[in-house]
């Protein structure tokens, strides 16, 4: 057989073995329908920095009397991840809203609110014919005298299911606007529809916070702090710390939980915010945890099991032209920098397992003078290995500086326990 005959035979053979791509198309449709969703926490002006957690509901469903009431069954399902919210629902600590708007074939409905002095949980629904091609961004518009720290999108988008956003504020106001932006999945900057709901919170129904003063000195890896005070709200507990000015390390994260006498644990951050910083320190000194507010007991315990600290003197330069850095962060690799006006748009490829893992990835970038350069962050991920984090930095400099999230871990052999009455 000469070469041309061989070519014809090979072509024919490949054409005969070429399978239909319908199976690939079905797989692609299913994969797309599993929803990629976007994490874009909206950082409020009052927040200097905040630590977020992956919001995956792994808790075992607990049968509740309310789950037999159809109107609240979906709410009971939606709050299973949070012992505080679950207890709030079981104690009828829920405000009904019921506002509905229809635009461009989509109907958004605000169903329920769970609210205390500093947190507002909005449960809403979005009905659309194309749930696979959209994602949602909830946010709030507040009067100038109220600031919010963050709005957490606590739900994956799916047609008909109850979705959930949590707003962390300085003080819950009586009136605010809940905004729901519906975005194109393929073009996350393209807003398809915007719903604005004027919400009225019945502030007379808000349960008052309970305050417990601690004033307990604590030494973490040679650094001195004081556990100052607890504020116990229906939806969460806020733990306040103070740090010693002579410390050589910042407190990145305190690991703790609350424990009742019968061993029930209330841990940190299930509503999306673990901790918060202030503008005069790099330490995280305000912490959020699940609350035993509705739990009837004479006392409960604060259990401190560890901490992560960052040496104040450690800075890591990163060359934005080449991606070279003297320190590597497992799971993160430099993908490139684009200059747009006065900004650098810097992207990193991230292995999906690393996104919410226990890692020292910096997130924050600085110039040589120590000025923070971060202006925004887009974080897109799929269920494959193609997660991309894009940072918008307020500089065109070639070299920026990173501070790792932590340099030291502290883990005592025996946890520190404080009894709270």
């Amino acid at each position: 057989m000469n070469r041309n005959d061989e070519f014809k035979a090979l072509t024919r053979a490949l054409e005969e073995e070429a399978p239909s791509l319908n199976a690939s198309l079905r797989k692609a449709e299913r994969r797309r329908a599993r929803k990629r969703y976007m994490i874009r926490p909206l950082i409020g002006l009052a927040a200097v920095f905040a630590v977020f957690v992956a919001l995956v509901n792994l808790s075992t469903p607990v049968a509740s009397a309310l789950s037999r009431i159809p109107v609240l069954a979906d709410l009971v399902r939606a709050v299973r991840f949070s012992p505080s919210l679950e207890a709030a629902v079981q104690n009828d600590y829920v405000q009904l809203d019921g506002q509905s708007q229809t635009k461009d074939g989509m109907t958004a409905t605000v169903e329920y609110l769970i609210v205390d002095d500093q947190q507002l949980h909005v449960f809403y629904r979005l009905d659309t014919e194309e749930p696979d091609s959209i994602s949602t961004i909830p946010s709030v518009i507040l009067e100038p005298d109220v600031s919010f720290y963050v709005v957490s999108n606590l739900s994956q988008d799916s047609e008909g299911d109850l979705m959930h956003a949590a707003v962390f504020m300085t003080q819950t106001p009586e009136h605010l606007t809940f905004r729901l932006q519906v975005m194109d999945c393929d073009d996350p900057d393209l807003e398809l529809v915007r719903f604005d709901f004027p919400l009225r919170v019945d502030t007379t129904m808000i349960a008052p916070a309970k305050t417990r003063v601690l004033d307990q000195p604590v030494e973490l890896f040679g650094q001195r702090f004081t556990l100052k005070q607890l504020e116990i709200y229906p939806t969460h507990i806020t733990l306040h710390l103070e740090e010693d000015a002579g410390n050589t390390a910042w407190l990145d994260q305190l690991h703790f939980c609350f424990e009742t006498e019968d061993g029930k644990q209330f841990s940190a951050g299930s509503s999306g915010l673990i901790s918060r910083g202030e503008d005069n320190t790099d330490s995280a000194l305000t912490y959020y945890a699940e609350s035993p507010y509705f739990y009837e007991a004479d006392s409960f315990k604060l259990v401190v099991s560890g901490a992560k600290l960052r040496d104040k003197s450690v800075w890591i330069p990163l060359d934005l032209e080449t991606g070279e850095s003297e320190t590597t962060f497992p799971g993160y690799s430099f993908a490139g920098r684009k200059i747009e006006g006065n900004q650098s748009v810097v992207s990193f490829l991230v292995e999906t397992d690393s996104i919410f893992g226990d890692h020292a990835w910096p997130i924050s970038f600085y110039d040589k003078a120590g000025r923070s350069l971060n202006t925004n962050l887009d974080s897109m991920y799929n269920e494959d290995q193609t997660h991309v984090e894009t940072y918008y930095l307020d500089t065109t400099d070639r070299v920026v500086y990173m501070k790792p999230i932590f340099t030291d871990r502290w883990q005592p052999e025996t946890p520190l326990v404080y009894t709270i009455h």
Binding site: L21, S24, D186
Partner: protein, 156 residues
């Protein structure tokens, strides 16, 4: 383009896309993995394709990119300048399919796209981001090495 139109166009291109994938990847299973990924990526972004007449070229480019991504991942992608060049005699002694695999990457790309993916010189140049003249000269060189005498009629 709707999702249904996309599905029809992809299925209509199946033979060409398969030939592209299998010649670059070397095995049926790897070709199918690449096609799965390419079909998914195409599904996610076909709405951005402004000119539907460019669909064939666009989809072929996605498949090609996915092949390279996978080869790179497997560390099988040898940079063009580092690839050893086989002699004409070596090509003669090999069956055509194996001889194709032995071609330097740039020549293999051109032959694959021109005579198996059935793209024109202009479309091949578009996919590979090369001038048409370069495509034409690489095509001549590859055909000479493979001792093939193919003209336009073979890729209709």
């Amino acid at each position: 383009m709707t999702n249904e139109e996309y599905a029809l166009r992809v299925e209509g291109l199946r033979t060409r896309l398969y030939k592209t994938a299998i010649l670059l990847m070397g095995s049926h299973s790897q070709a199918m993995d690449v096609l799965d990924e390419a079909v998914y990526k195409g599904l996610c972004s076909h709405r951005k394709l402004r000119d539907p007449s460019l669909f064939d070229t666009w989809m072929t480019r996605i498949v090609m990119n996915e092949c390279y991504n996978e080869l790179r991942r497997q560390k099988r992608l040898v940079p063009i300048e580092e690839a050893p060049e086989a002699s004409a005699e070596e090509f003669d002694s090999l069956p055509l399919r194996e001889a194709l695999q032995k071609l330097p990457r740039d020549l293999k790309d051109v032959i694959t796209l021109r005579f198996f993916s059935e793209l024109t010189v202009a479309q091949t140049a578009e996919v590979l981001h090369l001038p048409q003249g370069t495509v034409a000269s690489q095509q001549r060189r590859a055909l000479k090495l493979l001792r093939l005498e193919l003209g336009e009629e073979e890729n209709q």
